[in-house]
């Protein structure tokens, strides 16, 4: 029964993928879209059933299909583990997934390769589900690389444009760097505990006496590198902003709501490992904090609406890692969920705007859209309030939890986090004001076609906006349903449960004020004085550095990519030719000797006989000498 459920859960998206690949073109756009959406919707229903089951029984379901890879000391089987964590993830992956599929039916309708788009999306959902419900690290790795592949395919969806392809390639390779880390981590864990299975690993670690903690920390660090790759943390974050080359629904689904949270999922999954590696945890916290700040600062000055959202995603992910670093896994998970809601909503909203403006993404050419697309406006406004941490929206609770935890562990990181969230509030409302208020700054021709998007686009927006509003209720400070729900996962006493004392309230207040402050600045700067960001060329000073993302890409190019390429050229042109010349040289030498030897063969009998006699004398005299 459970097996069948699990299989239905996994295989329906795969089925959708196959159908769309083989028959998509003949089925026609709407049908293939419908198929894709239904496939994911079915998995969503199944996840609901499973969720129901889990909450009632309270313990996870293990499904083992068959042995996969045999290695001397560890036997890896293809199996699923459906417990609180994975089912929770399933819920919002498939849920938001199906919403975004629905959205895409209308959004991608003008694209000739719509069936391909849906098949990729389904494939992505398939791999994401595999990632989430895998019962051991290697099955997770299948999904892990699989979603990477799908993001590669979807970023490069418009493959005629080589820049997009570059972005896709970049994403894949940067993920691969992380994946190597993940692999190494797996190797170390495998050799330490001779298992990669979560359950056995947990018991093994719990039972293990005198662990080699340094080795374990190394493993944890490697795993974290993997997480960095997937979840776009410093130093491997630069691919995510470029990934906005993909169609907007992709950005919403993969690069905001689901795939990028895989890193958090993995760390939460292996919390029992990370708990033992405290030094690595602090590394995680620091990196998370820095990432959130850096991304936020860059986000301040971006003018591409999707870029802003991308950087805000990076910075939000940073906050989540901050929480993870303090071992407050459930807090991170909480923020993952709320973030999934409002960030998906924001992306879809921006998508609807871009759709309305026929592909215009630069906020400097927008404005005044409030009247023409009210639904988009309101939904996005709600989400922005949520992300800025305005009270009683979902984001308020989750972000607050994180900052609280940070405050309890380390004041500096708390400060960094708070600054980041203030900035978040600012650039989000900068976005809102530039996009929706004042007069329209685009071309007349665009102005003509301005219209609110169709119902297929607005319905998901509304649903997500509602979730973004009330999502916080799942973990109200004080009595959190989420914490209880996740409790069985964690070995240590759960962190987030703060009894609400004065400090907490003051901190809340501070956070709220910070958020409002950010909004206020944005209001003053872009509504009262209604200045519009300058054109690229006359951006100067600090903002130029920020606008160019601290030139990180350029640095990476100079430090890693360029050397490898020049090295490759060098090898190709010199080492290779040199080596083969070396081999040929042997033959050349022989030929040269032969050439000289031919001169000896003069054809004169006298010489021949002379040599004959010489040889004779040599031999005879040798005999005498040897005697």
């Amino acid at each position: 029964m459970d097996t069948n459920l699990a299989l239905i859960l996994v295989l329906t998206p795969l089925l959708g993928f196959l159908v769309n690949v083989f028959f998509g073109k003949s089925l026609g756009k709407t049908v293939s879209g419908a198929i894709g959406t239904i496939a994911v919707a079915i998995s969503f229903v199944v996840s609901l059933l499973l969720f129901n089951q889990i909450t009632s029984t309270g313990k996870g379901i293990e499904v083992t299909l068959f042995d996969w890879i045999q290695i001397s000391n560890l036997k890896i089987n293809l199996g699923f583990l459906l417990d609180q964590l994975s089912v929770l993830w399933l819920l919002f992956v498939t849920g938001i997934g199906s919403l975004i599929h629905l959205y895409s039916i209308s959004y991608m309708h003008d694209d000739e390769n719509m069936h391909k788009f849906f098949s990729y999306l389904n494939l992505f959902v398939f791999f994401m589900i595999t990632l989430v419900i895998g019962s051991n690290l290697l099955v997770l790795f299948i999904g892990w690389e699989g979603v990477g592949l799908c993001s590669y395919l979807l970023i490069g969806f418009w493959h005629k444009n080589q820049d997009y392809n570059d972005a896709a390639k970049k994403a894949f390779i940067m993920n691969r760097i992380g994946d190597l880390g993940l692999l190494i981590g797996m190797f170390i864990i495998g050799s330490m505990f001779s298992t990669l299975d979560y359950a056995t690993l947990k018991t093994a670690i719990a039972g293990a006496s005198n662990l080699d903690s340094s080795l374990l920390s190394l493993a944890a660090l490697c795993l974290f590198i993997g997480a960095c790759g997937k979840s776009a943390q410093i130093p491997l974050y630069t691919w995510l902003p470029d990934a906005m080359a993909g169609p907007t629904p992709v950005s919403a689904l993969i690069h905001a709501a689901t795939m990028v949270t895989a890193g958090i999922f993995m760390v939460t999954r292996l919390n029992f490992v990370f708990d033992l590696a405290t030094d690595v945890q602090s590394v995680i916290a620091i990196i998370g904090a820095i990432t959130s700040l850096v991304a936020a600062t860059i986000g301040l000055v971006q003018n591409d609406i999707k870029k802003v959202l991308a950087y805000s995603t990076v910075s939000q992910l940073g906050l989540m890692f901050l929480a993870l670093g303090f071992g407050a896994y459930e807090v991170a998970v909480f923020h993952v969920i709320t973030h999934a809601f409002f960030k998906a909503c924001l992306f879809l909203g921006s998508g609807s705007v871009i759709h309305g403006l026929h592909g215009e993404q630069d906020m400097r050419n927008m404005g005044g859209l409030r009247k023409v697309m009210p639904i988009t406006f309101w939904t996005m406004l709600i989400s922005s309030l949520a992300i800025s941490g305005v009270p009683f929206f979902s984001g308020f609770f989750s972000k607050d939890e994180i900052l609280l935890t940070a405050f309890h562990h380390s004041i500096p990181l708390y400060v960094v986090g708070s600054v980041a969230s203030i900035m978040t509030a600012f650039y989000m409302f900068r976005l809102m004001f530039l996009t929706f208020f004042k007069e329209f700054r685009g071309t007349e021709e665009q102005k003509h076609h301005l219209h609110e998007s169709g119902s297929l686009i607005t319905i998901p927006l509304i649903i997500l906006a509602i979730l973004a509003t009330f999502g916080g209720l799942i973990s109200l400070p004080g009595h959190s349903w989420l914490n209880k729900y996740l409790a069985p996962l964690f070995t240590k006493a759960t962190e987030g449960e703060h009894h609400l004392g004065t400090t907490e309230y003051t901190l809340m207040g501070v956070a709220v004020l910070g958020g409002l402050l950010g909004i206020l600045i944005a209001y003053v700067k872009y509504f009262k004085q209604d200045n519009v960001p300058e054109a690229d060329e006359n951006i100067t000073g600090l903002s130029k550095v920020l606008y160019n993302k601290y030139y990180v890409d350029e640095v990476y190019d100079a430090v890693f990519v360029a050397p490898v390429n020049s090295l490759s050229k060098f090898f190709r042109d010199y080492i290779e030719t040199g080596l083969s010349a070396l081999v040929f040289a042997l033959g050349k030498i022989a030929n040269e000797i032969a050439f000289q030897g031919k001169k000896l063969q003069t054809g004169s009998i006298g010489l021949y006989l002379f040599v004959f006699v010489l040889g004779l004398c040599a031999i005879v005299s040798y005999i005498f000498l040897a005697q």
Binding site: A590, A594, G597, Q601, I605, L607, L609, F612
Partner: protein
């Protein structure tokens, strides 16, 4: 012994046919006769006998090698049909000379007395002088004949001197007696010298460095068929005789004087290494195929000389090696004869595109070259293998490594020819499929491959 007589008789018959105007019949009858002789020889195989107070001593060794010589002669006679088409009057002479030459060869491997040995050599050599110069009007042929004659007779002089010194030391020409006294008596110093002189003379005949200079010039100058004879029959005879000389007198192993033995082995090692290296390297830059094969022959002489280090054990190996080498040589030369029928030279360019015009002959030539290069399943490979095996067991691993390096070099020039045949465009019409040439080529290469598949056939004959 009977073999020897029969062969001589056959020779005389050939001359008689000329008188009786039976030219047409000469070649078929000679071939049949030789086949008969071959049968006779097989019949003699295994009988250990000596005739005319040990002038001729028939042994397994002698009969085995005689059969090889006879087979080779059959091929050569078969080839001569097309070769001498243009001047039919001479054909009887040429065939007769070949047969007498064979008689000399048989005498050389079955001598029991140095006199017989000397006579055998001279019969062979004189016949070869004649054949080398046989293309009277061609200066090259004259020059070849002259060179071969001068150096050959010089070498015979050396050999004669050697025989003389040995006689002086031992007071006898009889191998077995020499052997006896070599074991017992205190040897005068000129005995080893005489021995060395004889060996040097034979080394000249097998064209080992540094006594090899004649070979390329003579091979190139002589008519192709003669070259074929020299590079297959003559070389094989010489090396076999040298082997028998050393083995038969058994002086080397019986010398109680150890350091003389070492001296001898050092000399052999040096000469064989030198021959291999010089032969192979010099062959790399040759454009004339006959010349190239001359140098490859020199290198093969170097290989064969390795058997002298393990005289007691390696008679079978030598037989196998010579058979493999000679058969591939015959196959190669029959193709060369066909290709260069009406060319005035034998340059590689003549072989361009043979793979397209005559795939069969091209394949045969390729096979024979591969066999010479020692690529598996052709007998050449097994010959090398057994040789190396012997030599390593005798402990000369360094020598074997040099040999291995040489066989790598040799591939270089053998493949030059193969490439010419397959990857260049044909540059001439090649008409006619002379039956005898095709037959010879096919049969000889077939024998070569059979030897490769069942080496024990030959290898175990002389155990």
């Amino acid at each position: 012994m009977n073999t020897l007589i029969a062969i001589t008789g056959l020779g005389i018959f050939c001359l008689l046919f000329e008188i009786l105007n039976l030219r047409k019949a000469i070649i078929p009858i000679t071939i049949l006769g030789l086949i008969g002789v071959l049968a006779l020889n097989f019949y003699e195989f295994g009988t250990e006998q000596s005739y005319y107070n040990n002038m001729v001593a028939v042994s397994k060794f002698s009969t085995a090698f005689s059969s090889l010589f006879i087979v080779l002669t059959i091929f050569l006679v078969a080839l001569s049909h097309n070769f001498y088409q243009n001047h039919p009057t001479k054909i009887s002479d040429y065939v007769a000379i070949k047969v007498f030459l064979l008689a000399g060869a048989v005498a050389m491997v079955s001598f029991g007395n140095l006199a017989m040995f000397f006579l055998g050599i001279e019969i062979l050599s004189i016949a070869l002088y004649v054949l080398a110069a046989s293309d009277r009007l061609n200066i090259k042929s004259n020059e070849a004949g002259m060179k071969y004659f001068l150096m050959g007779s010089f070498a015979s002089g050396i050999i004669l001197f050697g025989i003389c010194l040995i006689y002086g030391a031992m007071g006898s020409f009889d191998i077995s007696e020499i052997h006896e006294s070599a074991l017992s008596a205190e040897l005068p110093i000129w005995f080893p010298i005489g021995l060395i002189l004889m060996i040097i003379g034979m080394l000249f005949k097998v064209a080992a460095v540094p006594f090899h200079f004649w070979a390329p010039d003579v091979y190139e100058g002589s008519p192709a068929l003669t070259t074929a004879l020299m590079s297959t029959l003559a070389k094989v005879v010489a090396i076999a005789t040298l082997f028998k000389l050393i083995a038969g007198m058994n002086v080397i192993s019986s010398l109680e004087n150890q350091d003389l033995l070492n001296t001898f082995e050092v000399i052999v090692v040096i000469i064989s290494i030198a021959s291999m290296c010089v032969g192979n390297i010099m062959a790399l830059r040759q454009v004339n195929v006959k010349r190239m094969l001359a140098f490859s022959g020199i290198s093969h002489a170097g290989f064969m000389l390795m058997t002298l280090l393990t005289v007691s054990a390696s008679a079978g190996v030598l037989l196998y090696y010579t058979a493999a080498y000679a058969l591939s040589g015959i196959a190669a030369f029959s193709v060369i004869l066909y290709v260069c029928r009406d060319q005035d030279n034998e340059d590689i360019t003549n072989f361009h595109g043979l793979g397209k015009t005559n795939p069969l002959l091209a394949a045969i030539l390729t096979a024979s070259l591969l066999s010479m290069a020692g690529i598996p399943i052709f007998s050449g490979f097994f010959a090398k293998l057994f040789l190396f095996n012997q030599t390593i067991q005798a402990g000369y691993i360094g020598l074997v490594i040099v040999a291995v390096i040489n066989s790598i070099i040799s591939v270089g020039y053998y493949f030059k020819l193969i490439i010419a045949m397959y990857s260049k465009e044909p540059n001439q019409e090649r008409t006619g499929k002379p039956f005898l040439i095709y037959a010879t080529a096919v049969v000889s290469i077939a024998l070569n491959i059979i030897l490769g598949l069942f080496p024990s056939l030959v290898l175990d004959l002389l155990q």
